[in-house]
């Protein structure tokens, strides 16, 4: 399986990349990690006339704190994130999730920004970005803009990114002392896309949940927040009654799409199992029954 023919430019500046993208429109494709794009090309499911390789723009690879946010450059690889102490400190949710992304060889090449722009509904990063209410920084000919995660993922593999815009970075709010994060997913083989996955971000005041974010992967055509269930959690203590309420609420709220081997009903059931297990973990952590995860 060999790619169709295309031209290739390794750009030296962001401006050059945007200009090329603007000039070539739909015929051009941005090459970051390439772990999805190159597979598509090998299968000849896409025939762009130009690949714009932004791999040389080291400025896009930085991971750094900007004010109240941790900024993760679009070209930061999954392995960069795995190894980053800044991520572990300020966005521990990512540290929990990164090990579940494919395998080392893919994590070494695949990028954070590529995964966000690719908007795969079963991918870990879009799910985490949504869980954290992060922001997406993009730049086009008209300049830069910031898009809230909730507005970014518009459909199956489709985003608010315009054809001539490039994803620069994502901003994630810094984790606070009373935050608790959890991530889990169910995949039949390690590194596979999961049947169902859940990223949880909780903010406590004492033993009461102040705010809860439940972000799902693998259930719909985009990463998904179960906001009705989140609302139900807010202001509640994490006790048995609340947990049962969460399960019931999720059964009512979630309507997952089937995959090749799992029905929607099965995914819904598995989702409630994930939620219960992660929230029980959170409870145990808050009660100090086990060392705090973060």
């Amino acid at each position: 399986m060999k790619s169709p023919e295309f031209d290739y430019v390794k750009v030296r500046t962001l401006e050059q990349a945007i200009a090329l993208l603007h000039a070539n429109g739909d015929e051009a494709r941005i090459l970051a990690g390439g772990q999805s794009l190159l597979a598509a090309l090998n299968m000849r499911l896409s025939e762009p006339s130009l690949l714009i390789d932004i791999g040389g723009l080291s400025v896009l690879r930085a991971i750094a704190v900007h004010g109240a946010f941790l900024r993760i450059g679009a070209l930061a690889t999954h392995t960069d994130i795995e190894n980053s102490s800044l991520v572990a400190q300020h966005a521990p949710l990512l540290s929990l999730a990164v090990g579940r992304i494919a395998h080392r060889a893919i994590r070494n090449a695949g990028t954070f920004g590529g995964s966000i722009a690719n908007a795969d509904p079963a991918a870990e990063w879009p799910c985490c970005l949504l869980a954290l209410d992060g922001w997406v920084l993009v730049r086009g000919p008209a300049g830069e803009r910031r898009i809230a995660a909730a507005d970014f993922f518009t459909g199956l593999y489709t985003t608010a990114l315009a054809d001539d815009e490039i994803l620069l970075a994502c901003d994630l709010p810094l984790a606070q002392r009373d935050d608790w994060f959890g991530f889990d997913e169910l995949a039949r083989r390690s590194g596979d896309y999961a049947i169902c996955g859940l990223a949880v971000a909780l903010r406590f005041s004492g033993s009461v949940v102040q705010s809860a974010h439940l972000s799902w992967l693998g259930l719909a055509s985009t990463p998904l927040r179960s906001r009705r269930t989140e609302a139900l959690l807010a202001g509640q203590p994490l006790d048995a009654a609340t947990l049962q309420g969460v399960t019931d609420a999720l059964l009512a709220e979630l309507d997952p799409i089937a995959d090749l081997t799992h029905t929607g009903a099965t995914k819904r059931h598995l989702a409630t199992v994930l939620a219960r297990r992660l929230l029980e973990q959170a409870l145990a952590t808050r009660q100090g029954l086990q060392p705090g995860m973060h």
């Binding site: 739909d26 494709r29 990690g33 772990q35 999805s36 794009l37 597979a39 598509a40 090309l41 299968m43 000849r44 499911l45 896409s46 025939e47 762009p48 999954h78 992304i101 494919a102 893919i106 994590r107 695949g110 590529g114 995964s115 690719n118 908007a119 795969d120 509904p121 079963a122 991918a123 870990e124 990063w125 459909g155 199956l156 593999y157 489709t158 590194g191 596979d192 896309y193 719909a220 055509s221 799409i257 089937a258 995959d259 090749l260």
Partner: protein
Amino acid sequence: MELTGEVSVAAARESVWHALNDARTLMACIPGCEAVEITSDTERHVRLLVKAGPVRARFVGKITLSEVVANSACVMTFEGSGGAAGMATGRSSVALHDQDGGTRVSYTATASVGGKLGQIGARMLDAAAKQMADQFFERLSRTLNAPQADAAAPAAGAALEGARVAAPAAGPAATAPAVPSVLGEGTRLLWFAMGCLATGFGFLLATHLH
């Protein structure tokens, strides 16, 4: 893939039917629809560009109409091909019903995807088809609420190859004539497009790469 759904459109049954029969409205509503060629009263050749993540697949195909009941229902079968990329076949039926403040459109469709796209895209077929339907009806409602909005639809006079073959440079370019109002044209386009578009999605997921 089996899909059933219902949508409400804030317009009278006749005007929904009419809109569904106006090719330009439909081209505006169906993402990627590039050309239509009338080959007989009940047969249309269509070209569609599928865009999904890194996928760009151009499909050509044929839709055949049957069991038409003007202003209320029809059945279509579609066969579409992306050449080496894959093919889609399917059958669908659509019915329009009056309801308060507008029309309820109910549909059922089965699609089957072969070739390369089917080998790798099947897992996301349901999601893709569902999204396609949602998008179409959302745009349709918008169009009906703003009748002028669809005037400048794209794709008149685009080239098209014969049915079930796709080769970017191949075949004599046939100019598609402007499409007159034909019963069910739009719904045929819709379901054809759903079949094709569905095939375009999802292989990314299948590749399990990030």
